[in-house]
């Protein structure tokens, strides 16, 4: 099915580039601020989000023909919550160390606007296969931005990457980088650089039209 694959490719390109959920749509900022002070935590958060997002997209899309539109949001939240609880329990059972660090944040995946946004904007009106692809693509678009921010913040704020000290004793940690304000500055810089250097103006006008 060539048209399908080109469509899927387009979805990937959009979510990673000019329709990126974080730096173009500016969604999911709460988690960007909360977890990006260490790469490890961010990675688990991204994996959890990728899982929840792709499967909730798939489920919503499967149910879309029968779902009464008046209660669709309730149903979506219910589905998302179910997947998030499964992530939470799975971490608790198999990765208790990570769960102990991330416990409160995993629950917060439910409130990530990207999941609800993709369900509403894409899964409700597209077939299951494509919706799943869209979920994965949006999840990856979210993840790489977060990981990039987390890399910078952990490096500057703690002198380490993935918990491994890479900068020597001469390095003076920037305490502000592990606090939430550091995420604001880092995200702003990221958006600034991406919009200033990489996204071309005609992309933006296309997006606006």
């Amino acid at each position: 099915m060539p048209p399908r694959t080109t469509e899927a490719k387009q979805i990937f390109r959009d979510n990673i580039g000019r329709d990126n959920p974080v730096f173009v749509q500016v969604l999911g900022i709460c988690s960007t601020l909360a977890v990006t002070n260490s790469v490890k935590n961010t990675f688990v958060m991204c994996a959890g989000l990728l899982f929840t997002l792709s499967l909730s997209n798939l489920t919503v899309s499967l149910l879309r023909r029968w779902m009464p539109s008046r209660i669709r949001m309730m149903v979506e939240v219910l589905i998302i919550a179910t997947y998030v609880i499964i992530v939470d329990i799975a971490l608790k059972a198999f990765y208790p160390e990570i769960w102990r660090q991330l416990g409160p944040y995993v629950g917060l995946i439910i409130t990530n606007c990207i999941i609800m946004g993709r369900a509403e904007a894409f899964a409700l009106s597209n077939p299951p296969g494509l919706s799943f692809v869209d979920g994965v693509a949006a999840g990856i678009g979210y993840s790489y931005v977060l990981l990039a921010i987390a890399f910078c913040r952990e490096l500057l704020g703690s002198g380490s990457v993935w918990g491994v000290q890479v900068l020597g004793g001469w390095w003076e940690n920037w305490a502000i980088m592990v606090m939430a304000p550091g995420a604001f500055f880092m995200l702003a810089l990221f958006i600034w650089i991406v919009k200033g250097l990489i996204l071309k103006p005609d992309d933006e006008t296309k997006e606006a039209s």
């Binding site: 920037w174 305490a175 606090m179 304000p181 500055f185």
Partner: protein
Amino acid sequence: MALLAKVVRKLLPMTRVLWALAPIAASSVYFFGWRALLLLVVVNAAAFAAEYAFTRRWKQPASAAVFVSGTLFALSLPPQLPVGMAVLGIVFGIVFGKMVFGGFGKNIFNPALTGRAFIYVSFGRHMTGQWVDPVEGSLGGFGAYAADAVTQATPCMALKAGEAVPLLHLLLGTTSGVLGGTSALLVLLGGSYLVWKKAANHRIVVGCLAGYLVMQAIFWSIGCAGVASPLHGLLAGSVLFGIFFYATDPVSGPTTQQGRWIYGAFIGSMSSLITVFSAWPEGTMFAILLANMFAPIMDHAIKAVTVKKK
């Protein structure tokens, strides 16, 4: 000279501020050695470079205000601060406190304070934990590169801990503290010159002083723990420096006359409040940044009220 005019736009009020700061800068060298001058020069160069990197792309000269920001910033640093941190602070302050808003005249926050707050939060140990006493001897710091008599606390911290600090030392500035904030006398001198030349608005200054003294007097008279007497509190640390040189920044402050009174009183009372109840020994910086944030709303409210009255 022509080249200078091409890259720097002169502004009379800003030049006046620089004159007012000159004796304080000289005193910082006298108290803490030639390292103070090094910090001043490096910080100003970095500040100019940060601003010019933006204005060049806009095909404009940098404003002379950048040297005011740089000098004010340098004078508010602890004498022992590593040069790299100072540069980081001022570049951050200029870029995020000023240039992202569109450059001189459009900034919401005072750039020098933005930079200072950034490194204050980032490098707590260097910004609040390492102090030196002024260099001894008749030549003072003119005969030394850096002061090396390490001390634990500034007068502000001593006052907060309930110790007595002689008023004369605070007036003359023969105490530990930030480069330019130790000598209350010189700050008063420079500040008065600014008010006299109308480079600093007297409403803001009087509002600040009144707000601070009243608030501090209230806390002092009800006997809160760790509250200095209003006079001691005012002369110790950088309260006066903040009031005369930072709070009076015409760009980040309000533009209506009544707004300036409110703005001043807000800064003064908040300085006292933060100093007394927070973990920080000095609250003036945060008070001014908070007030910067509310300045547009103060103006807006006052304009709305006056329109209604008419």
